[in-house]
Symmetry: C2
Subunit: 207 residues, 2 copies
């Protein structure tokens, strides 16, 4: 949640996105150090990719790029001491996880849930499109799985995710993770996180 008078950064990500994994694991401590409040904004890349004429991830459509990405992510996770295990299915449908995250982000357990989903997916090669996985993660966080899964399938949450995805597209977002500052600067990719935080912190000081 944004804190008044602190510089703000919107963190747009998709649970299907590989580089959103290290970004999600890194952002909270880095933002605290930079004095920036971060708003987690899960959205769906699928409709944005479809509008570009892609029916899958570019990492599947362009095999050389895909092979590179998996190796790059493996090296990156090793450097960050993050668990890494390539899931059998990629990309995974991220609709359920995104909806559940929207429920949690309006409560207290949202950010921790996002980290748990990414850890399950890319750290343990789990299925995040499976209600049983999501329920297990919710239970571990002390949230009530049945209630949350019911809310996740409710109209207000469905609409919210559609609106967020549309907002991402209108901002010019074309991939994930993307960081957007209050003054409208986009920074795309896990490796732009530090630069985005520095920009947000500087912009906050000017006002």
């Amino acid at each position: 949640m944004p804190v008044l008078d602190m510089p703000a950064l919107d963190f747009w990500f998709d649970f299907a996105s590989t580089y959103s994994y290290p970004a999600t694991m890194r952002i909270a401590p880095l933002a605290a150090t930079a004095g920036v409040t971060v708003q987690f904004r899960p959205f769906l890349l699928g409709p944005i990719f479809k509008a570009q004429g892609w029916d899958s991830s570019p990492f599947n459509l362009y095999p050389a790029k895909g092979r590179y990405m998996w190796r790059d992510l493996e090296r990156l996770c090793a450097d960050l001491s993050l668990p890494f295990c390539q899931p059998e299915t990629f990309p995974q449908p991220s609709l359920l996880a995104a909806r559940a995250a929207l429920v949690g982000l309006a409560e207290s357990w949202g950010e921790e849930f996002c980290r748990a989903v990414f850890r399950a997916e890319f750290g343990e090669a789990g299925r995040i499109d499976d209600s049983a996985t999501i329920a297990r993660l919710l239970t571990a966080l002390g949230a009530a799985p049945d209630d949350v899964l019911a809310k996740a399938k409710s109209e207000p949450i469905k609409t919210r995710l559609r609106d967020e995805t549309q907002a991402a597209q209108q901002l010019g977002i074309f991939g994930a993770p993307t960081f957007v500052t209050a003054d409208g600067e986009l920074f795309w990719g896990n490796d732009r996180l530090e630069q985005a935080l520095a920009w947000a912190a500087r912009a906050g000081k000017k006002c």
Copy 2:
């Protein structure tokens, strides 16, 4: 040129590639500090993009990505105190510059020529597919333009560039800049330069 007993890194780039500009300007001092010798390997991305079904740069094919790239490059150049001026034509045919660079890289002025080409293209919005531009850059470096341009159009240089482009494709290179270590690790993008140098330096120590 590689120095014996020093760790080595191959630096693959295309003169048409925007992010190859900051990489080319940054690599020499960073490599010296890391104790790594770098081999400049200009190649052509065009045939590799064509093999992926693209008839232009992905930054033109995907407008949101293109708009972002130009803004990102502008910010990046500002951070690095590099001149930046967006050329009217993008991508520019890089065949002539790449062939002239291959001539220079077998002589003493190759790396300085590469930097001069990128500065003319993305720092001054110049045309690098124009013989007059290339001749002007060569003169400034003390090379003989007529001789170099004649050599650049010779069969051995034409063949060399085709072979290098094929070698890049066989290595799994799909974009530029790409850094390749002696033990076969690929690092794609200007923002992977430091990581590539660190990997090369470490790999060198193991042997």
